[in-house]
Symmetry: C2
């Protein structure tokens, strides 16, 4: 129907006739002439209708915002002084000689350039919301990103292979979405939390290199960057170790950023052990753009009498650390109170601090409610270790190590943003040498930090003896500007090793067989060494497009209560459908009250 997209008509088409299809972005009447900004996926172009052509002009007079038009016209230079250099089409306009109204539009529920439309409204009228140029660009960039990733992987012999959506509960440990089976009454499929086991089975099938851009599902209470269904770039390869995999993934990321953003990423990416990341940044996904670091003070604080510090310092699971904010001395009492409240969300019981007015003036140069509890040599050591300078502020965390890390780690990021300390650019980082297991305090048992198929950094199952907390895995996470965008590992390919790991996780033989029997079987029949990685595609696209939420890089996301305001899903179903599926609804509390 059209000869060109609106958004690409420029001076190269001067004096040519073009046919355009698009939406009326705006109509203005000026000096007896009608100006229409016609919009399509590629952008806007100005169309002019003058009264010389009476029939076309009469039609043009009817048009309103969001009408769908087909326009034929000649491209001409805009009059001097009306050129818009912000637009690719800004030097030209189209003199309309033909006009068809392909469809009309009622006044849309909101204007496309309105900024403060509520998210519920945006999602309900998503087909209007997605017409905004920002949303169009994001979805276009998302398509471009998946295209580049696919071409890179296919160029490296990876095969795009589909794995089932109707499957068995997967081992990620989040809550599954379940699908009742009609043909097997009382049984349920689970929607996959990831294709983890299937991709390992594909390696056991000799397919060598696999990738898939695949939907995954987790029925969790939603946070800002979570959705019930999300998309993973899932990769697995045989006969390659972690060095090989990480190197290849760096190459992929470099290609991606070069092609999509025209940004050079420098390889090899920085690497850091989990232990170092926690020590320096209180986080296993540190944002390296922020020039703030934690300072270890546990050893310094153990001997002091001040129990708030010495208690955690002497606790084997405790930690005392400082976070110096350069030039933070100007923080007001109110601001410090707000930060205290902020770290409270992470379980910190307070937020001690020292203002450093004059680093050379001894106690006189410092200002702090806790100063009186600290002996001189400790104060000196704090100033030395934090490398404090005049005008700085030093925050303290003292608690279980987990609380200190989470609280100061989050505070570090918040201060970085609040104080405009975040450097520009991209700081990819591999975090490696993760612990195999972490203690689940609630259940007092070891759980896999990644998943139970992650290989430990030992060759022999016998070496798994001793404190499971000290075992290091062959896992690696890719962190980009403080967001974990990918995570993977070399997998266990030896059955004795897999059984030993199940054992350490307290997964008995019966449970192991019931849940993962097919994997244990498969390990018996010639399983190759293999490993892989999975990227959170939504998050990666969010970072690359500069969106604030993964909802802004999905065409039809769900709300925070996992509902779709557009289609009104989920919805009630008929009694007959439930009967076919061999299930019935439970009486809710409300039903009972009514009854």
């Amino acid at each position: 129907m059209r000869s060109h997209y609106c958004g690409i008509v420029d001076e190269s088409l001067l004096d040519q006739e073009v046919t355009l299809c698009g939406w009326v972005n705006r109509r203005r009447d000026h000096g007896g002439v009608i100006f229409v900004d016609l919009r399509d996926r590629e952008g806007l172009v100005q169309v002019v209708f003058d009264p010389d052509r009476a029939d076309v002009f009469a039609t043009a007079e009817r048009i309103r915002s969001e009408y769908v038009l087909k326009v034929t016209g000649r491209v001409r230079r805009r009059p001097e002084g009306t050129v818009n250099t912000d637009l690719r089409t800004g030097a030209i306009e189209v003199l309309g000689t033909g006009l068809t109204v392909l469809n009309t539009s009622e006044t849309p529920p909101f204007q496309l350039d309105e900024d403060d439309v509520g998210e519920e409204t945006r999602l309900r009228y998503r087909y209007v919301d997605l017409r905004r140029p920002t949303m169009q660009r994001r979805l276009q960039m998302r398509a471009q990103i998946t295209g580049v990733l696919r071409r890179f992987l296919e160029g490296h012999d990876f095969l795009d292979i589909e794995t089932p959506m109707l499957t068995k509960a997967t081992p990620e440990g989040a809550r599954d979405y379940l699908v009742p089976s009609r043909t097997h009454p009382g049984s349920f499929f689970a929607l996959p939390q990831s294709p983890q086991l299937f991709k390992q089975l594909l390696m056991m099938s000799g397919l060598d290199r696999y990738y898939q851009i695949v939907r995954c599902f987790r029925d969790e209470d939603l946070r800002a960057d979570r959705q019930p269904e999300f998309t993973q770039l899932d990769i697995e390869t045989s006969f390659m170790d972690e060095e090989g995999i990480m190197t290849l993934m760096e190459e992929m990321m470099r290609e991606l950023f070069a092609q999509v953003l025209e940004v050079p990423l420098h390889t090899p990416f920085q690497r850091m052990t989990y232990a170092e990341a926690m020590r320096r940044f209180g986080s296993d996904k540190p944002d390296l753009r922020i020039p703030l670091e934690l300072t270890e003070l546990t050893d310094v604080m153990a001997p002091v009498e001040f129990k708030v510090f010495s208690g955690p310092a002497k606790d084997p699971h405790g930690r005392v650390a400082a976070l110096r904010l350069p030039k933070g001395g100007d923080l007001t009492r109110k601001e410090i109170d707000d930060y205290t409240q902020f770290v409270g969300r992470y379980g910190a019981k307070g937020l001690a601090y020292i203002k450093v007015n004059d680093v050379n003036a001894g106690r006189e140069g410092l200002q702090s409610p806790i100063l009186k509890f600290l002996p001189d040599e400790v104060v000196v050591e704090i100033l030395n270790r934090t490398e404090a300078e005049d005008g700085d502020l030093i925050f303290f965390g003292a608690d279980k190590a987990r609380v200190v890390n989470e609280a100061l780690g989050a505070l570090r990021v918040k201060l970085g943003h609040d104080r405009h300390l975040v450097a520009r650019g991209w700081r990819p980082l591999w975090v490696v040498d993760f612990p195999m297991f972490e203690m689940d305090d609630k259940d007092n048992r070891w759980v896999a930090l990644h998943h139970p198929f992650t290989a430990p950094r030992v060759d022999n199952p016998d070496e798994l003896a001793g404190d499971p907390g000290h075992l290091v895995s062959r896992a690696y996470d890719l962190v980009l500007n403080g967001t974990e965008v990918g995570g993977g590992s070399v997998r266990i390919h030896n059955m004795a090793m897999q059984q030993k790991v199940f054992e350490l996780l307290g997964i008995g033989e019966t449970e192991a067989r019931e849940k993962f029997g097919f994997l244990l079987d498969a390990l018996k029949y010639g399983c190759p060494p293999h490993g892989g990685i999975a990227f959170g595609l939504d998050r990666l696209v969010m970072l690359m497009t500069g969106a604030q939420s993964i909802r802004d890089v999905m065409a039809f996301p769900k709300t925070q209560t996992a509902a779709c305001p557009l289609t009104q899903a989920p919805a009630e179903v008929s009694e007959a459908q439930l009967r076919e599926l061999n299930i019935r609804l439970r009486q809710t509390a409300a039903d009972k009250k009514e009854g």
Copy 2:
């Protein structure tokens, strides 16, 4: 770990050292030397271990079928007389100088070259089954096919956009898979039968051109070529009519067959109306490779006294037709009985026939139990219309048109295969001008032949008056060698038209609003003219790989009862999980008996 894939080592690598990883396909000991066929995704290579290297030889003596090996060695020419010209690697062998057993294997549940392994066993040990070269090739070709399709579409400005899996019941009319919502007790998501409404919404969002390779779900009783989850290449575009879409799709198919099979498809593809396809082939997906056609006899039979023929011929919904089998006179009584039974499956109450011994000998030259019921002029007309020749056999169908078409249409295909009449090659065909509606005899109401969003071939809703059975839609199906591989249509983009179509389908305003309210809303706000198509990817891959079932082109398909013998899905879940989802199981008949 490796320098080359096994299957590509050839004379270009003579005298070079290679490192290979793979599975032991076969080990033979011959003349004091050990021969190993090492297998990977790309094929086999022969590795030789001789006793000169004692340590390597000792390791080689341990190896069994399906062990996973890493082999280093030098490529050398095979001794004369032992060259295998069937293999790319058949002129060389690798003299093993290094050998690591990466993993052992128990004796696999079946041999890779066993032909008659039951499907349940194949699916249960899918990771062994998928190691077969045939299965590897199919999955590789599938990946290649999706790659070519994606590149073609992206090269034509189509954007890969993901649509939700957790959504609302879709209008395709098959049974939905349901997913109970935890956060909205008593409500359910449906897994999509297709992204039909979402892709239309994307057009209304101004995204212009969309595609997706997407999983779809139908909870139907399974037939040979159906699976509960299947994959669709889904396409939609704005501002293009059926000519534009069909032409573009032809180009895509031509590109696909050229790149993957190196077969030239000739464009434009043949086109045929639905009416012609039914008349000539009794099917809306005729296999044009089979040179048999139905002959219309309804008008001829109306006046005869023989009720078996004149009854259907006079019934406005009836049909009488013939199917001539050239040189079919040699069919035995038994064979004809078998074909009679075969058409019985389609509801035919019998299968009348005439053997044509001598076409010029009048009744004497014919042989048939029904001959005596037919007057001379009718017999002559039958012979004329069917263009019968000596030695032919003519079958007859007389019943409701639907029964005649299904029975003779199926018989035509069966005879084509049984008599080896199927021509080689690819015969793509567009079937067009479908009826908008068909009568659902059971419920005695009109239903949409495609779906209720298909545009009728009229411009104005008022033109929808009259007999709905005569309305023709703007739908098109792509048929390839008798299989429907794609289907699509131009959609309704005008609200009044959409409402009128709902009305004809007996979908009341309340129902329309409840089910499709969001679509009706969207039609109000500037919906562009649009249309699209969806291809059954599994079927297309099945045809292109020559597989007999779509299960053979999926990595992990389900059985005919929608179960997975590998993972044992679906499975029982805990009472706690059901409680969270606000559902409980119904008591089954068996439970009740026990109770």
